[in-house]
């Protein structure tokens, strides 16, 4: 009699477990050959696109925006001189229909289309672009990405306060429809920079009138394919088609609903239940990834983001390069990627990710336990004797903990050294990495534009993103030379040599490269996987006929 309530409880838990197992098992394919979809397949009525934008956007002001949640919405509300092709991300004409680049690669002349207007019908001219870009560079604005425009002549001096006169910066509207930009160095990827959200124009009249609140739905004025209708804090943003957009005819969506769901499991559940049409990368729990490969609506593509361990080289024993080399060689990336991450992400033994056209990277670091032990002996700790305990700093998000525990075990096993793992919450973790209050810390870095310099520039001496205390004269010189080098092939060779130095001195230990993992319903068209994880919403539309018609049987399948 007494045992019964306990047994009852156990039975309930057991059946819940069985159901949990069922939930996964029930997603078995309906029939061989038919594509399996993760979740229900009811398209929304009309041209409405619903997706999860992730964390709550902080800023919709292009000059202040940072991160994907800000970026996706900002790029829907505003458009720049140059846009990115939705498939290849190559620069394509946006508000500028034509541009000329001088032979030395330093002067860009952009010609704007005629008749451009803001959404409140005020005329949009090249002077708006000049004003907006200078506003980004103005130190008083507080733009986090002002650095993207530093290739422009005198931009860095103006932003750091050394130069007070904004007119000296190399951006000038020679007339209402022509913008002339003068760069300090030939920058082959400048057009990609011009397509980023920091370089989107802002309406001077709205900004000056409403101040900080100009991006509120009732005040905002944009020039992009969509308008901001509603913004419910931590819930969702609702966008509607902008009729005054110059290419409004090409925009098929009537409405876009961007939810602010920051939990990955919740986002995936919403997608499965058919309440979302797209769940972008980063919002699928990593433990589901190995099972997603069989689904037709799951998409994966390499991404220009690298996960690595940053080493604080100012503290013993990690100030010794041989110790760092030992740690690098002792890390079995392949096993990590294959076993711990279950093949969902490729191991990566270099710093800049793969896929840059024309870039020949230096040889990658391979797992070599014998060599690792040798390096450690050379540092004065044969067999790990006398080596003080080092701590790996992580913040618990997703699988950082699992990977760190695996690395800890590997270093212990191969080198015989004591390694601990410390877990901190986000802000304390950021503070610790910024202030060099750590020994080994996990980090990742996302590329901004398709060129290796977006990764390698971080490790210049004194750069704010360095966060290791490492400094190398030859490395800095190579990067500076690359910046001034006009020939693209020579420039990439210089960058490759710099990367070789970085890998050899090992202030960073690369582990794996990120891959985008997203779920897209088959009735969504115009959304393509891209390495910078950028998806212009302008080209998206809902196909109500087509593929989903044949899937009546699959409807309602889990």
């Amino acid at each position: 009699m007494r045992a019964r309530p306990a047994a009852l409880a156990l039975a309930l838990i057991a059946s819940a477990t069985a159901l949990a197992g069922c939930g996964r098992g029930a997603s078995a394919p309906p029939g061989r050959g038919a594509p399996r979809y993760f979740g229900s397949l009811h398209p929304p009525a009309g041209q409405v696109f619903r997706f999860n934008n992730g964390a709550e956007p902080e800023h919709l002001d292009p000059a202040l925006a940072s991160g994907q949640p800000d970026g996706r919405i900002t790029r829907a509300l505003f458009e720049g001189l140059v846009v990115s092709d939705p498939r290849t991300l190559e620069p394509a004409p946006g508000h500028a229909y034509r541009w000329e680049i001088s032979t030395d690669g330093r002067d860009y002349t952009f010609h704007l289309r005629p008749g451009l207007v803001w959404s409140d019908r005020a005329p949009l001219t090249a002077r708006d672009f000049e004003w907006s870009w200078k506003r980004v560079l103005d130190p008083a604005t507080g733009s986090r990405y002002a650095g993207l425009l530093f290739p422009v002549a005198n931009a860095e001096a103006y932003n750091s306060g050394r130069l007070a006169d904004a007119d000296a910066v190399g951006i000038r509207a020679s007339d209402d429809s022509t913008l002339v930009v003068r760069l300090a160095d030939p920058t082959p990827h400048f057009l990609h920079l011009a397509a980023l959200y920091t370089c989107l124009p802002v309406p001077r009249h709205a900004v000056e009138r409403y101040g900080d609140r100009w991006t509120q739905p009732e005040n905002i004025v944009g020039n992009g394919p969509f308008l901001l209708r509603r913004w419910e804090a931590r819930a969702r943003l609702v966008l509607e088609r902008n009729p005054t957009y110059w290419d409004a005819a090409a925009v098929r969506l009537e409405r876009v609903v961007a939810y602010s769901v920051d939990d990955a499991a919740t986002s995936t559940n919403l997608y499965k239940a058919g309440m979302l049409d797209w769940s972008p990368s980063g919002y699928i729990p990593s433990q589901y990834l190995p099972y997603m490969r069989g689904y037709a609506d799951f998409r994966s593509a390499p991404q220009q983001t690298v996960y690595f361990y940053s080493i604080n080289v100012t503290r013993a024993p990690l100030d010794d390069v041989w110790v760092r080399r030992a740690l690098t060689y002792a890390l079995d990336r392949e096993t990590l990627a294959r076993r711990v991450l279950r093949g969902t992400r490729p191991a990566w033994g270099r710093f800049a990710p793969g896929g840059y056209p024309g870039y020949e990277p230096p040889p990658e670091i391979a797992y070599d336990p014998a060599r690792a032990r040798e390096c450690l002996s050379r540092a004065g700790y044969p067999g790990g004797q006398g080596f003080p305990k080092i701590e790996i700093l992580i913040n618990t998000s997703d699988d950082r903990r699992r990977v760190a525990e695996a690395v800890q075990a590997m270093w212990k096993q191969t080198l015989g050294i004591p390694v601990g793992v410390t877990n901190l919450e986000w802000a304390t973790y950021l503070d610790a990495t910024a202030k060099l209050k750590y020994q080994v810390a996990v980090r990742n870095w996302i590329g901004d534009y398709p060129d290796p310099s977006t990764f390698l520039n971080c490790y210049r001496s004194g750069d704010g993103n360095n966060r290791t205390g490492w400094s190398s004269g030859p490395y800095d010189r190579l990067l500076a030379a690359a910046q001034g080098e006009g020939d693209p092939a020579a420039r990439l060779r210089l960058l490759s040599r710099a990367e070789a130095i970085l890998l050899d001195e090992a202030p960073v230990i690369p582990v794996y490269q990120f891959v985008t993992h997203e779920l897209v319903k088959p009735y969504v068209r115009g959304l393509y996987a891209t390495p910078l994880d950028y998806h212009p919403l302008k080209s998206v539309w809902i196909d109500h006929g087509g593929a989903t018609g044949a899937n009546a049987a699959a409807r309602g399948a889990p």
Binding site: A6, G23, Q287, V421, L424
Partner: protein
Amino acid sequence: MRPASLWADAWRRLRRNRVAVACGAFLALLALLCAAAGWLPGLPDPNAPDFALGAAAPSWRHWFGTDPLGRDLLARILFGGRISLLVALVATLVSLVIGVSYGALAGYAGGKLDEAMMRFVDVLYSLPYLFLVILLLVFFSKSLIMLFVALGLVQWLTMSRIVRGQVLSLKQQTFVEAARALGARDRRIVFAHLVPNTLGPVIVYATLTIPAVMLQEAFLSFLGLGVQPPDASWGVLVDEGRKLMTIFPWLVVFPGLALAATLFALNFLGDGLRDALDPQSRGEAR
């Protein structure tokens, strides 16, 4: 003939309560297993990874299965139980002692003192817990004592409220007047007479908060206090397990069962204790 003391009488009654005894035995056995985990023959190292194996379902080799790094789950639960049970016990005791005394004194004192004491409780309750813990970590080094402090900080607050409420209504009763008439001092009245009568809800609340304390420890571990990887407490195991719930259900079921079984046992034992200590209880419903 010497009259039986309250405690001896209670002990005798408790021993006769079969459910309570069974639960007590279960808890003792669990604690023993966890404490002796390091010496149990055949139990694998809880922190030794087996990358090739990965997460495996329960089998003869691994009774509770393994986690994604190939570590035996039964071993992890037993070793994790050490910290969880210790934490739960100490934190609950601390919150009991502080909460009960504080609440009883406030309730008995009444008036302005009671109000001031309860406002102090309110203030502590309103402060954001996350920051309190972060600051503990900043100013004091990470240690077991700090963990208990962090856990104890908030647990006693609601306990004191409950006890105060009980005392407020009890202190008007005749036995209190009688004690006072007999010349008993206030402190004796509070601790020898009033507190034992509040034990009912106190025990109930204390046993209910134990799983909450275990889960709170997991939260603290996330913040950097509490166990750090690769060690794990039950709360951490449940938290890590629930992320993989739909794929590897055993990772959440077994730690969850450990937590639930401890809770059930504690509650029924607590009921038995309450029945045993209740001076008027005869175990009959009417």
